[in-house]
Symmetry: C2
DNA sequence: ATACTCCTTGGAGTTAACTCCAAGTCAAGA
DNA sequence: TCTTGACTTGGAGTTAACTCCAAGGAGTAT
């Protein structure tokens, strides 16, 4: 699979994909004789994983560390597990924040819907209900 | 309330809070005769809102726009609602991504837990189950 | 009155994660 | 063989959102 195809599949740019490989967010990809990247199924799984993790804010730094440990073999299994658990804590934290913000947005929007209908804007549209 | 107290309350730095005011993420805050910021309840609500929105990745740009519209008065009610709805779409998108990443992390970690216990590392620890 | 601490400002600097660019290579088509 | 177009590289540039800094002012303790 060419770089362009992989990029299309995951909606990222070739620059990003090359960057990921360069810094080690994904392992090195096989090349044709001409030196052009040819992504294997395995490579694509790594890209998929990287894109997913990055979309949830897992730092590039952490993904690099994971790949490094992976390439060191089975002796790093617990280290990898710990790294993933560390990542999970952060993702969960953010998930909670996003959910809290959704709640706030939903509340505000419902108040605005009301205001648009009735012409009356309640005091607390900016904020959240008084305690 | 002093800037330090507000910062402690929301776990941010004075620099960030002054930055928010400077660029318009929150409206201007009242000062003492000496020129020192004295945050009112209202100000604090704005800060709370800004911190919440920012923690879910709502761009500073968008918060500035909201404050600007708010200060223009009731004629901007629908515009503000639309802005909030736009923000909500983005936050929801990210929420979904974070959830997907949590699922992936949970799966991977469970596989690693297994591997740590049994010493056997299944083929797909890196990725997600084959289709 | 002097020192100390915390506040102020405008503006420069930092960071993470891309994103762009110039110069060069390679395979395929005319 | 020559052109075309996609790919390659190392390195520089960009962006959003802070973060830091130097210089100065105000209020309080000694």
């Amino acid at each position: 699979m060419t770089i362009k195809e992989v990029c299309k599949k995951f909606d990222i740019t070739p620059d990003t994909l090359r960057y990921y490989e360069r810094v080690g967010v994904i392992p090195e990809v096989n090349r044709t004789k001409g030196g052009i990247r040819d992504y294997s199924e395995e490579d694509i799984k790594w890209v998929e994983n990287a894109v997913c993790m990055r979309s949830a804010g897992v730092p590039v730094e952490m993904l690099i560390e994971y790949v490094k440990l992976f390439q060191e073999g089975d002796s790093t299994i617990t280290a990898r597990r710990d790294l993933l658990m560390e990542a999970r804590v952060e993702v969960q934290k953010n998930l909670d924040k996003y959910q809290a913000t959704m709640d706030r947005l939903n509340y505000k929007i419902s108040r605005y819907e009301e205001a648009v209908k009735t012409g009356v804007l309640s005091w607390d549209v900016v904020n959240i209900k008084k305690d």
